[in-house]
């Protein structure tokens, strides 16, 4: 059993706590809804203690310590534990973690006026930590939302449907009229109903920012953070370390561990070695397929490897505006030629063959299981019908990060068997993605991988396959797929409040995408991390990756931990 999976006892305690929370919420006792979320912790699977110090590792410095600017995958665990916001996800592993709960708001928003008005009341427990030590107000959220449009927030377009958002994006306004703050009440008005807006409000981008601090140190909030979460930043020395200490002002259940030191500049392979030598407790990195293959056979460490669904799809994309991929039969031939069952082997078992575009870990998603086995006869027939009886030559672009080259070598051979002669052109990831996202480069054929930003299929379909989202630069719809039916259905789903109906629409979109084959899904990857036996509460949250406030030290600690990790 993975350390992230709660025991039966813990589950019962949490269920009781959740039931209690629901009853109290219904009765109007707002504070306890926040309290109940933490009751029992997410994964207390043994004797534990409060307090202690742990060492984590990370390769790069955090991109920012400003919630409006940070968008790095592995900056997120730090940002999300320091900066809480109106809504949070439930602290449990698996799909249940997609459930939204109030955080700094005292309840989930009341959605009025046909889904265009979100009404919050800020919890009296919501407080800023040092050096402010004051209550968080609705005005702090309003300031934070306006600030997103000022500071070039990488996720600002998520909030373009807030009334005034488009004007702010265009530089015609600075007031963001759709956000109204009256005392503890916060109102957010949208230009149109947006069922996934509640998920956007759970992102750290909308964490409250104290105006007095931001104005005193303009453009330097990363150096003057003010916490609203269970931890605060005590020290940040670039390229050396980040030290998080418990925030005494946090209104919810305090974090278990007193201090978390994050050592920077540690590569993934070195990070694994540090864990194995007892010099760190874990970190913000993924183990390589090679390390996984080696350590999963180790009786001590096999139990310390956390393999989790990363809500990911890795896929081949084809430029549908260029010959020969402008013919759907050619794209279908590509889909028929590739044996996806080989892909999990390439990834050392860390993934599932993809027969659909949406990752099956996405709540409510049903698998399609298309093209899982190769059908070379059909592929050849489709190529003949499309006018390519002898196949054709093309270039398949990708990245050099392992096992990317091996993955594409498999695809290359399988394509060659039906007559598609693909030359591999592999490069550094950032260079490749920049090139592929530049429509003027007319890249014909490539590979891409997408991890969910939030738990809704729109994050895959709208971002990656909606023709209305094609941009000249930094384009994510790499194949320039622009099918009116798919576009309309994506947008219809995005405006549908009923979850089951929305998911049904997305299921149909997935089926049509698999028919038209602008993309050929290869694998839904799993993530793989390793941590010390003394550490409990480790699980991959469906969107949050790792929740630092849920980590705790076992009591007594298992033997074999080096003194190096002690403060």
């Amino acid at each position: 059993m993975s350390a992230g999976v709660p025991g039966r006892h813990a589950r019962r305690r949490r269920a009781v706590a959740l039931l209690l929370a629901l009853i109290l919420t219904a009765g109007g006792c707002r504070d306890d809804s926040v309290q109940a979320r933490y009751a029992g912790g997410p994964a207390l699977d043994g004797p534990h203690r409060r307090g202690g110090h742990i060492v984590m590792t990370r390769e790069d410095d955090p991109d920012f310590l400003d919630p409006a600017l940070s968008y790095g995958v592995y900056s997120a665990p730090m940002i999300e534990t320091v900066f809480h916001t109106l809504i949070d996800y439930r602290h449990v592993p698996g799909k249940e973690g997609a459930e939204l709960l109030p955080d700094l708001a005292d309840a989930l928003p009341a959605v009025r006026e046909g889904g265009t008005l979100y009404c919050f009341r800020i919890s009296p427990r919501a407080r800023f930590g040092a050096p402010l030590h004051r209550r968080v107000t609705a005005a702090d959220f309003r300031y934070a939302l306006r600030r997103l449009f000022r500071v070039n927030c990488p996720g600002v377009t998520f909030y373009r449907h807030v009334v005034g958002g488009e004007e702010m994006l265009a530089g015609r306004d600075s007031s963001l009229a759709g956000v109204i703050a009256r005392g503890d009440s916060l109102y957010i008005r949208l230009t149109r109903p947006d069922p996934i807006f509640k998920y956007l409000l759970a992102m750290s981008f909308v964490s409250p920012i104290p105006e007095e601090v931001d104005r005193r140190w303009p453009n330097a909030f990363s150096q003057h953070t003010v916490s609203t979460g269970p931890y605060q930043v005590a020290e940040y020395t670039p390229r050396r370390r980040v030290l998080l200490v418990r925030n005494p002002e946090f209104g919810g259940t305090p974090a278990w561990i007193d201090t978390i030191e994050i050592r920077l500049g540690v590569t993934a392979s070195n990070a694994v070695a540090m864990v194995l030598k007892g010099k760190s407790d874990g970190g913000f990195f993924e183990m390589s397929a090679a390390d996984y293959a080696k350590l999963r056979r180790d009786p001590k460490w096999a139990a310390q490897i956390d393999v989790a669904d990363g809500l990911n799809t890795e896929y081949l994309w084809m430029n549908v505006r260029k010959k020969p991929f402008n013919d759907p039969r050619v794209r279908q031939a590509v889909a028929c030629a590739i044996d996806r069952r080989a892909m999990p082997k390439v990834w050392s078992g860390l993934g599932e063959a993809a027969g659909e575009f949406l990752p099956p870990g996405m709540p409510g998603v049903r698998r399609l299981g298309r093209y899982l086995e190769p059908d070379t006869a059909r592929a050849r027939r489709l190529l003949r019908e499309a006018g390519y009886p002898d196949g054709f030559s093309t270039t398949l672009y990708g990245w050099l990060i392992e096992p990317g080259p091996r993955e594409l070598a498999v695809a290359q051979q399988q394509l060659a068997e039906v007559g598609i002669r693909a030359r591999l052109d592999l490069g550094e990831t950032s260079g490749y993605t920049s090139m592929a996202g530049d429509t003027s480069r007319h890249v014909p054929f490539g590979v891409y991988s997408w991890y969910a930003d939030y738990v809704d299929p729109s994050n895959f379909f709208d971002t990656l396959l909606n023709g209305h989202r094609i941009e000249a630069l930094h384009n994510q719809n790499l194949g320039l797929f622009d099918d009116p039916v798919v576009n309309a259905e994506i947008e219809r789903a995005m405006a549908t409040a009923d979850d089951s109906l929305r998911l049904a629409i997305y299921h149909d979109v997935d089926a049509r995408v698999m028919d038209l084959c602008p993309v050929v899904p290869l694998i839904h990857n799993r993530e793989c991390r390793i941590y010390q036996p003394r550490l409990g509460g480790w699980y991959r949250h469906i969107t949050r990756i790792l929740r630092l406030e849920d980590l705790y030290l076992r009591d007594p600690e298992p033997p074999g931990v080096s003194a190096a990790v002690r403060p």
Partner: protein, 330 residues
Amino acid sequence: MSVLEPLAAPPASPGAEASAAPAAEAGAPWAEVLRRFRRDRAGMAALVVLSVIVLAALLAPWICSAALHQSPYRLHIMDRIAVHGREVEVVSDDGLPVGPNPRLLLGADLLGRDLLSRLLYGARFSLAAASLGTLLAVLVGLAAGLIAGFYRGLADAVISRFVDAMMAIPVLLLAIALAAVLRQGSLGIVVLVLALVNWTYLARIIRAEVLSLRGRDFIEAARAMGASDLAILTRHLLPNLAGPLIVFGTLSVAGNILLESALSFLGVGIQPPSPSWGNMIQEGIAFYRVAWWITLFPGIAILLTVVCLNLAGEALREALHPGARPEGLP
């Protein structure tokens, strides 16, 4: 300055016969070189091993298809084979390839390809890259060294300063930069990169050798007889440079095998799926604890080839110039 002397003494008096290079006209010195080489047991053993490696590389297509019934490119990631009466996956579900066994003598790589076939084809790529790179370096280095040493003056200054500048850059760094600029991948590019980083060494050796030869009597005699510069360069100087060229070439091939392997290991040399010993090691290095055979066998191949080339090169140097052997050595 090369340790090598002219292969034969220059003629005593300039004449029509003297216009031919001394080494070229004499068969006896080469026979003597061969005799001395044969006496070097290590050198002979190395030559035999090298011959086997080269032969295996040349016959790789036939060995793979007729004897091994394998292809170095064919992926067997989804296949199963019978080993000791038991059916096993060539690559297991968790991505580990089958090790050495009677069906696949050196085991399989991470994509289920036969490692022995790839090793043989890798020898073709590695040896071809190293040999052709050396050949090109010899041509460029020889021309530059001859011009600099013979004409001296401005030509010498320009060429020598350029060579100095090139040699100030670390070889591997220069090779990586060139490979990146020239776009990675093909054998031709790797050959070009190897030649570009190596010609400078030979140019320096040849220049020094030419400087010592150009004042010798047989050159003066040829000049007095009215021989043109081209004739002196090609008919008098060139034959006397055969020794340094052969020794440099032999030792340089060994160095180029290592450099090509390093480039391929770093991802800027021969590109997969074409096998080279360097990229084979690179492909398996992360898995060395659970699939050791992927890195071990190409590593042995590189080691064996380089050691043999160095031994053979040393033996050749000794055979060409026995006086250079330091005192006290057997």
